[in-house]
Symmetry: C2
Subunit: 388 residues, 2 copies
């Protein structure tokens, strides 16, 4: 396996983008990434696209072909591969594309992630989010994704003394960060009271503990590291990649407060990178619900199991904290267009490691980690990147 | 890149399987393949699964996680990758898994393909098939997949003098073959009249020119070729793999009677294999509609463009013909559970090259080719295999 670097990034704004269709979004992100990288279209060997549920959201499967076509690559016959692992689809696309370059099969690939969620009525989005759970054992009986995370949160509160205020502080921090991110869906800081007094979604999670329904796309250009300097002065090397599964329904797990998929994916990525959690300078984690960020910092090894709530309260995950988490605003404030999220997380890490994150720049960030979860933790992807 | 071999195959019966769910089907095919290969579950490095639209058919996305879970691999944290390219999803899963072993990343992977189509009412299946077309430019205006192939058929008849009888003969041949296949959905021979007098689906295609709505699953075990003899006396080596895109809507193409995705994918696979079309002994092609088989034998180079209809009439594609096509019964008679099809095609080729195809065995078959198309040709996968 050879080294691979990210040489280009492209993002659309995330939000309720009534004037932009699925194909507009991915074409915009893709062309920005290609322009940023300085490659020409002819150099692209393959496209890898993550999208969770275009079939249900916009009546479109055959997503790889759509992306190749709307980006102008169909006439060039470039292979296009769509992958899906619920809201970890973006991270999965990244890993598949990374492997294809690391193996020498491809030299240059474009990774895309995209979702257009706002063309359906509210309950339909909730129903489609629940397709990331076990349909026969959970969704069929009325479980929602928020309800499932709420059960985990309740257990975490019971077992470790985590408080509703600590959960809410995740949202407060991420909104403060998102306010500095030009691509974020929500650019306004919020108070602890805003979160606690918002309508209850599923106890203990209020609407403000939940990431929003979003449209958006993100793209990256990957290149064999040995050729990366030809295109950019600031290639960002992929030094670790991990993927792991856990049971799809919660009832199969030994302890619902541990995402074993995160634990195993992280172990794999840390091992490949030859680093420990303390070596990481900046992190993007999957906070589709505030409890998700608390689980993540525990399962990734930044704090001990059960101490995530306190860590947030003690502000070790803020910009100036020991381990800055979600400088982008996270899924909560940046927005969560499902398939786009995993790719956008890595784009944020690349900006941080390039030193181009402007007002939300983490000082001296050399190593960054992105953590992308599918549904309630049945799939996890962890990637670690480093400035070259 | 190192050589890779198929060391195990598993198929469910295809058909309207009211008593089997999506997870039952893939678990059955997967465990048959694993048993056939002689590996133990612990040796599996990753799962690759092709499924077109579980989200719409059964309300389940996060398909990779479901498959890992229902096959008992979730507790082992084995990474599971779901890919989608409409009804070429199975071929795409095969290619991704093949690459992962060829590159040295994985040693042993299981490839699955699965679809459960019969749990929805008729029109919903038609609508979901149309998600393989361009939603904004075709499906939204009422185009169906059958209607799109019907336009191609009409043009082929106009340009090359292909007749309705020649189209119908594809179905007659494939039903004759399917009658010999224990896994086939339809095991009865039909007459030319049966096809021509069936209800019209979209002129010139009658219901009997169209593949059915099916449930089913297929699975394969892949292993590095150097280790394959440890598990089986009859490993079947992958000697060529190709994938190519074409425009998603028909209106973008120079000539709708040519699937350029097939032409380019085949060129790539033949080049890697170092063979020419005349070297192939047995072929499985994507006859979702009878015209599809005629296009395929032309675009794969077995006959010249425009001569596919005559070739069928002259019986060069029957068991005893020059180039036997679809000994399994093809999608028409074997059934077409979308994501399963591409994997099942390769399972048929493996049976043929092992000499285990029983009553439908092609004599002295040494090299076989599988051709899997997404929708109306925007994606194509071609694989070539050889007995070791």
């Amino acid at each position: 396996m050879r080294d691979v670097a990210v040489i280009g990034i492209g993002l659309t704004k995330f939000g309720e983008l009534w004037d932009k269709s699925f194909r507009n979004l991915i074409a915009e992100a893709g062309s920005k990434a290609i322009l940023d990288s300085g490659i020409s279209g002819k150099e692209i060997d393959a496209l890898y696209v993550g999208s969770m549920s275009a079939g249900r959201f916009i009546g479109q499967e055959h997503v790889g072909a759509l992306v190749a076509d709307s980006s102008g690559f169909a006439h060039m016959h470039i292979p296009s591969i769509r992958v899906e692992s619920a809201d970890a689809s973006g991270g999965l696309a990244f890993r598949q594309g990374y492997f294809s370059v690391a193996s020498g099969m491809n030299d240059i690939v474009v990774i895309g992630g995209v979702e257009k969620m706002t063309d359906v009525i509210g309950a339909e989005a909730t129903d489609t989010l629940a397709t990331s759970l076990d349909q026969e054992w959970e969704a069929f009986f009325g479980s929602t994704l928020a309800g499932t995370y709420a059960m985990i949160a309740t257990k975490h509160m019971h077992d470790y003394g985590t408080t509703r205020e600590q959960l809410a502080q995740v949202a407060v921090k991420n909104h403060a960060n998102g306010a500095l991110n030009p691509y974020a869906q929500f650019k306004r800081p919020i108070s602890l009271e805003n979160v606690l007094k918002a309508p209850m979604e599923a106890y203990p999670l209020t609407m403000m503990d939940c990431s929003p329904v979003s449209d958006g796309a993100a793209a990256l250009v990957l290149c064999a590291a040995e050729k990366a300097k030809k295109y950019t002065d600031k290639p960002i090397k992929i030094i670790g990649s991990g993927q792991a599964s856990d049971t799809l329904p919660l009832h199969g797990r030994k302890n619902i407060c541990i995402f074993e998929s995160t634990v195993y994916a992280a172990k794999m990525a840390y091992k490949q990178a030859g680093i420990k959690p303390k070596d990481v300078d900046v992190v993007e984690v999957h906070d589709s619900y505030t409890i998700g960020e608390i689980l993540a910092i525990e399962d990734l090894g930044f704090v001990k199991k059960g101490e995530g709530g306190k860590a947030v309260e003690n502000k070790i995950t803020t910009f100036d904290g020991e381990i800055p988490v979600n400088p982008s605003g996270g899924l909560k404030a940046k927005g969560h267009p499902l398939g786009a999220t995993g790719v956008a997380q890595i784009a944020e890490i690349v900006m941080q490691l390039r030193g181009e994150a402007d007002k939300r720049q983490i000082k001296n960030a050399k190593i960054g980690l992105a953590h992308n979860v599918g549904g309630a933790g049945a799939t996890c992807l962890v990637h670690i990147l480093e400035a070259m």
